[in-house]
Each structure stands twice: as C-alpha cells, then as structure tokens.
C-alpha cells in the first residue's frame, strides 16, 4: 500500500480544569479531561474515513487536532510526510491551503455580511490564487458545480436555505484546490431529503477532484453511504477501525454492535426487531473507567474465569457493582427502600428485583458470593458489598485496557474478546 496521506500516531489531547491561579491558590488539583486519549491511524489518498461516535467521545477534538486548530498534548500527525505540528512558514501556508474544513452549522459558519461570491473568493485571495477576474470566474463555476446558480454570487447567506448554505461552504473549501477535507457533521443540521442531496454532491466531488475526506459524524446511517473505512470512537479511544462494509456486516466491538443495532430503521419491521438496549450513560472523560472504557455498559463484559453464568445475570451483577462504584446505590437508597417495604418484599427481594438478579445464578460459589453481597447491603454496608464484589467478581475488562489490535487483515478492534491474551 502507498504511503498514507495522513498519519496519526498516539495522539492525545487532555484539557485541564481547575487550572486557574485561583484554583492553585486554593490548592485545587487540576482535573484532566481526556478528550482524546491515544489514537493512531492512517488516511490514504482518495479515501473517506468515517469517524463515528456519540457526543463527548472526542471525535471533534481529534478532527481539530488533525488540521492543527488544536495543539495535542502528545503524539504526532504527518500530512504528506510533513510533521503537522512542526512546519516552517511556507509549509504551514501550503498546509492551510491543502487541508480544508467544512463545518456542521451552515447558519453560523458563513459571514452574514459577505456576499456569496466574496465568501468563496476569500480563501483563494488569501492564498494568491489567480487574478481577481480569474477568481470571480472560478467562484461562479464553483457555485454551479455545487448545484447553485452562478448568478447568486451577489447574494447574501441569509437568502439561502440550510442545504444551500452548506453547498456554499463546500464551494468555499473547494476554491483553494485542497487535497484533504475534514467534514465535521456536514449534514447533521439538515433535513433528511436535503442530507441526501449533499451526500451525493460530496461523493461526486470526491470522484472528480480525487479528494480525501475525514467525515466526522454521530450518524451511522450517513457514514455508510460515503465512507470507505470507519473508525468508531468511545470516550477518547478507538473501539474499532476497518472497512465500512465489513464493520456494518460484522461489527466486532460490542460498542459498535450496540450502536448499529440501536439506529432506528425506517421500515415496517422496526417495531418487531429485537434490540439490545445499551443501558446507562457515557461515563465522564474526567474519570474514565479502569480497563476497558466501555465496560460499565458492555453487554458482553467478560466473566471471571471461574464462572460460566448466564450473561444477562452476569451483566446484572456488574450493574449492581457499577452503581455501588459511582455512588448511585447509596446507604440512603437502602434505608428508604427498607423503610417503605413494597408489597411486603424484603430489602433483599427488592434488590434482586431492581437489578434483575435471579433467585439463583446456577452456580453455588457465585450464589454464595452474591448472598454475602446482598446481606452486606441489607445491613446497610454498601462499602463492604462493593469490596466483596471487587475481589470475588473481578472482570478482565476492569483490570486491563484492551489494545487496538489487528483481528483480521485491515481490521483492528480494542476488545479482550478478540485478543490472544484474554483469560
């Protein structure tokens, strides 16, 4: 395979909160927000890499770091073999021409006081491309190419709809003849029918100009249309990366699987589809879970080697443990539950019902442990319950962070289920 156009190695971007002088005077320790926490990948010429993830996963920060709008904490990016964070003035200028960004919000990303023609010509002028007359002509041609009228150069952005403004944004990016365009949620603000128009346009332009795209989006249903490969991001790390079709057909990482499964399908069978709901919220990047970052929500979290419980029961135990860990199962909760006994249920019965724990796990050792945990809870000793869970029911997924490893040619997954060294 040829040299990649973009090469990213072990990129990290941490922000620090409570880092003001006042905080230091008060003795507050700075808190690191690990927005991007060690990702490595390549983007090849002419391809589209889709970067998919939910809000707060770090995908936009990663995009900004790639185009040098953000300086990373550590790690390197090369573009066409040049180090992006170590360019001389001329190289930097050239980089700023060859790499363009199209933003999500077509309402705020265009200057309302500039005509469409001025908007499109501005970057060309900045890069001394052509004469004034030539730039005027190019702007007209570009407008036509993105599906607008060449005579609209004298109009202002407010005269256009969202989809049209996004077309203008694309024309502006194209003017400087870039090689690489970062598309940051380019159609998320648009109606579905308009989204389809813009995606088709982006596809056509890529073919015509040999463009390389990084498409950042939370919307899986659009990424499949125009990405060759996709990377799935969760809490600052890649869960999985590989060819789009293979990932959609056969997702490996449980998070990818959950994401794909949970996208609502616009068809009549949707109501009857069996969907594994991914419970809980994304944990905070200030305090990411130990081991695998997805383990607090993962339906497939690995059991200790000694057990072979029903996976749903195991997940129920993990939920109990997670709630004890994050404090949402507090002494107060136990006291209030014990106080107003519902339907004459003992606190233990209530706990079993609440966490969907069965009356037996089908394994004597496991049952004995669980009984100890539950009696610690009924005695209002949640810390002891957590202690027992931690020693007796520890998952590999909590202990070790899975590395992003090749599982198949061109595919990498960060999950212990796919790793040689797993228990």
């Amino acid at each position: 395979m040829s040299e990649p156009l973009v090469h990213v190695s072990d990129l990290k971007k941490h922000y620090y909160e409570q880092d003001t002088l006042l905080d230091r005077a008060l003795g507050n320790d700075p808190v690191a927000v690990r927005a991007v926490d060690g990702v490595s990948f390549d983007i090849h010429e002419g391809e589209t890499l889709g970067l998919v993830g939910e809000s707060g996963c770090g995908k936009s920060t990663l995009g900004e770091a790639l185009v040098n709008l953000e300086t990373p904490t550590t790690g390197d990016v090369t573009f066409d073999n040049l180090p992006v964070y170590d360019l001389d003035e001329d190289q930097e200028r050239e980089f700023r021409r060859r790499v363009q960004v199209v933003f999500q919000d077509p309402y705020s990303s265009l200057n309302p006081r500039m005509t469409v023609g001025e908007t499109i010509r501005e970057p060309m002028a900045l890069h001394d491309m052509g004469t004034k007359a030539e730039r005027k002509e190019t702007a007209r041609e570009l407008l036509e190419q993105v599906g607008l009228d060449a005579d609209h150069t004298e109009r202002y952005p407010h005269e256009f709809s969202g989809g049209q403004r996004q077309r203008i944004g694309i024309a502006r990016a194209l003017g400087v003849e870039p090689d690489f365009i970062v598309l940051d949620e380019p159609v998320s603000a648009l109606d579905v029918s308009v989204q389809a128009q813009i995606l088709t346009l982006l596809n056509d332009l890529q073919a015509e100009y040999d463009l390389t795209y990084l498409l950042i989006t939370h919307d899986l249903s659009i990424v499949r249309r125009i990405s060759d490969r996709i990377a799935v991001m969760y809490l600052g790390k890649f869960a999985e990366i590989g060819p789009t079709e293979e990932i959609f057909e056969n997702p490996q990482h449980p998070y990818t699987e959950g994401l794909l499964e949970n996208v609502p399908r616009a068809n009549v069978e949707e109501q009857y589809r069996d969907i594994q709901i991914i419970a809980g919220d994304v944990p905070s990047p200030r305090d990411p879970p130990s081991g695998c970052r997805f383990r607090t929500r993962c339906p497939e979290i690995i059991q200790p080697a000694a057990f072979d419980l029903n996976q749903d029961h195991w997940r129920a135990i993990v939920d109990l443990k997670t709630q004890l860990e994050n404090g949402s199962l507090s002494t107060d909760w136990l006291v209030s539950r014990a106080a107003n006994k519902r339907d004459d249920q003992s606190l233990e019965q209530q706990l079993r019902e609440h966490f969907e724990l069965p009356s037996t796990l089908g394994n004597d050792t496991a049952d004995a442990v669980l009984n100890r945990v539950l009696s610690a809870l009924t005695d209002e000793r949640p810390d002891d319950a957590l202690g027992i869970l931690e020693t007796e029911f520890e998952s590999l997924c909590e202990r070790e962070s899975p590395a992003l490893e090749e599982t198949e040619p061109n595919r990498c997954t960060a999950c212990h289920l796919y790793q040689e060294d797993s228990d």
């Binding site: 607008l148 009228d149 609209h152 609502p264 616009a266 709901i277 994304v282 949402s328 909760w333």
Partner: protein, 421 residues
C-alpha cells in the same frame, strides 16, 4: 363538518377536525397548520413525521393550546372524549358538547388551561429549557404534582389556580417556584415518578440541580414531570433528537413501556421516520402545514400514495439494504407565507408526477376504500398520466433559492423561547 360520534368509534380519545393555525408576522401571514384532521385513540402512539417547517410542532402546540402571539388557532375543532367533562360543561356551553365529546376549542380559556397537565402534557426536545436551573429537579417535579393535586381536590378553584400555577404556565415562566407550595407528600410522589422513569437512586437525584443531570437523565426527569398530573395524552415533540443513539433507544423504550403500563396515549412528533417506526401504531406525514397522508405503519411504508411520502422514504439511507441508491427529493420545503402559497397542491413544484389536475388543491381521499389510510393527492383517484404532466416542473439542477428560512426559524420556537423574548 358536523361530527356525529358513533358508538363503534368510542376508542377515539381525540378527534381533530380542520385545525388551522396561523402566525401574523411582519412578513405576512404564515399558514403553519392548514386544516388538519386526525384522531388519537386511547392507548396508542400516534406519530407525526415531517421536515423542519412542515408545521408538525405547531400542530402539537395547537393541540395543547400553547400557541402564542403572533400565532393563533383560527379554526377547527378538537373533540375530546370525557363524559364527566361533557356533563359538567353541557349547561354553560351546549355547543361544545356532543355526546361524550367536548370541543375543547370552544371551552373558556380557564377551562382549556385546566386540561393541561391532567389531560394533556408535553415534553420537548431540549429538557434543559424546561427546568429552572436554580431549583432542584425533585422540587420542580413535586411542584407539578402539587399543582395537579390541588386542582383535582378542588375543581372549583381550578380556573384561578391553574392560571397561575399549572404545569405548563410554570414551565413557561422563569419565576422561582415557591417552596411552601411543596409538601412532603408531593416530594415523595416526585421520587416515585423519578423511579418510574428509570432514574437510579431517585431520592438522591431529586436533590440535584438540572445541570447535574446528563441529557438522557434530564429527558427522563422531564417525562416524570409531565406524568405528574397523570395525563391521558402525552405529546412528545422530538424527544430524542438531541440525544445519542444509545440513549435515544432507552428513551423510546421508556415511552413505550409507560404507554403499556399506564394506558397513556402518546403523540410522537419527529423528523426521523426510523424513530416513528420503532414505537408508533399509526402515523401522519406533514408537508407545508398539511397532513398529507395518514395510515398505519404499513400503509405508509408499503403502500404510500403521496409522492412526498415516497420521496421521504427514498431519501433515507437504508441500513439493511445499503446497495439501494439514495433518491433525494429535489428542491426545498416551500415558503408558508400565505402570499407565496399557490392554490394547487403545495408539493406540485417538487412532484415528479404533477399533472394539470394538481393546479387545484387535492382534497383528502381514502386509499383503496380503507378509511384509515387517507391521502391528499390525486394519485389516490387516478393513475399518473404523462400526457397531463405539468411542463418544466422540476429543475433538479438548481435547488430552490427562495426557501423562507425565516419562517422556519419562527416556527421552530419552543414555547419556552417565546416567553423569554
């Protein structure tokens, strides 16, 4: 249109007839909702799908009587089945009563307000804007509980009290709720409600402020608040649009479980046909202020007649069959300015099958004799005839440059924003 309720139709909880809502702005009259008809059955989830500017949110706000200046419901009827209410108002407003049904648009303002929270309740896309940031979540829900308690304990005082303190006016005002208004009882009920919507450790979370909640948790809390008055109809306007896909699934599951457990009817408004398909029984498609096609899910997915419905389906990337190509609908949603709206079918300038007949507004037809599947399009009556095609109809090279974004922005206001202006 005279409405004669038939015994067999008693499952209809709500019958909306010719509901029309307009906005009178400086730019002119905006026909946001134009003579729409639909029913809501007891215990069903009815979906309304449409793109931005289609009028779907205004339709929802009209239903719960939350249209604010410069908007006004200018016509139509909303018949609500409630024998007790019918009896109660029969003497004072006989025209507003028809058997067990009451036309709520004919009730006094106080009477209509009294239905908020107890009959109709509403949740929005952005739960942050529905909570007062400086009051704990538990207290705000307890307040909603208390409002409904007092209203039902003393119906005579309903009018006066709800005008000041109804759930909705409470939502609309940024005034601090008064602490003495919340009793230990209503606080307990608030915790129960939080538990019902799946918030872990509800007693502790009740003491927290809205900013301490994640987006998904706050959406749950808003649902809890909306349930405080044990409403019969919950209107959910894009309740999952701001949420991530895994959280969206959780909320949709919650709504459908609540519906199951409580027998609530839900009106789910969304631009996402996938979301609608997941939990709705029947669906209406809105375009340019009109409900252009209605039916059950399979009518819409498998035997839709309106070219816009078909276009909407074709423009959605298909998860299961990626090889099928996208067929974008050319052009944009039309302007809703009265002066710019033609006399014919509003979809004609984008319709691949527009005929000369379509210069006149299509009435509502039933499809294949099925009363539950209706459409506003001549294709229900006659097949497309190329000989009658409207010439030069679609210019797909150049998307329409006159879409009135201003109208859209105005129409997309949530009622809370209206109030903040």
């Amino acid at each position: 249109m005279v409405l004669v309720p038939r015994e067999s139709d008693s499952a209809d909880l709500i019958r909306v007839r010719d509901l029309t809502t307009r906005f009178y702005t400086e730019e002119g009259q905006i026909n946001a909702v134009e003579s729409i008809n639909f029913t809501i059955q007891k215990g069903e989830i009815f979906g309304i799908v449409g793109e931005s500017g289609s009028g779907k949110s205004v339709a929802a706000l009209s239903l719960i009587d939350l249209i604010e200046e410069p908007g006004r419901i200018v016509g139509g009827e909303i018949w609500y089945r409630n024998p007790d209410l019918a009896e109660m108002v029969a003497d004072a407003t006989p025209d507003a009563v028809d058997g067990a049904y009451v036309d709520i648009l004919q009730l006094s303002e106080g009477g209509r307000h009294a239905l908020r929270g107890s009959t109709f309740s509403m949740i929005f896309q952005d739960p942050m804007s529905s909570f007062n940031p400086s009051v704990t979540v538990g207290e705000q829900i307890a307040e909603a509980v208390e409002v409904q308690r007092r209203a039902s304990a003393n119906p005579r005082s309903t009018r006066a009290r709800t005008e000041d303190f109804s759930l909705v006016s409470f939502l609309l005002s940024s005034a601090l709720p008064s602490r003495q208004f919340v009793t230990p009882d209503s606080k307990d009920r608030a915790i129960e409600l939080l538990e019902q919507v799946g918030i872990p450790d509800p007693a502790k979370r009740a003491e927290e402020y809205p900013y301490e909640y994640s987006g998904g948790m706050l959406q749950r809390a808003m649902i809890a608040q909306a349930l405080a008055g044990e409403p019969e109809i919950l209107i959910a306007d894009e309740p999952t649009t701001a949420l991530d896909v895994t959280i969206q699934s959780q909320i949709l599951q919650l709504l459908s479980e609540l519906q199951d457990e409580t027998g609530l009817s839900i009106v789910l408004i969304s631009h996402n046909l996938g979301v609608i398909s997941r939990i709705c029984d029947r669906v209406g498609v809105m375009y340019a202020g009109e409900l252009i096609e209605k039916g059950d899910l399979s009518d819409i997915h498998q035997s839709s007649v309106h070219p816009y419905t078909q276009g909407l389906l074709d423009s959605i990337p298909d998860f299961e069959h990626p090889e099928s190509s996208l067929q974008p609908i050319p052009g944009n949603v039309p302007s809703l300015l009265d002066s710019e709206m033609g006399d014919g079918c509003y979809f004609a300038d984008r319709c691949p099958k527009a005929m000369t007949t379509c210069r006149e507004k299509p009435p509502e037809f039933t499809v294949d004799g099925d009363d539950d599947h209706t459409v506003q399009c001549y294709l229900a009556r006659e097949a497309y005839d190329p000989a009658k095609a409207l010439e030069d109809n679609i210019d797909s090279e150049e998307p329409d440059a006159t879409a009135s974004t201003m109208n859209r922005e105005q129409l997309e206001h949530s009622p809370v924003e209206f109030d903040n202006e």
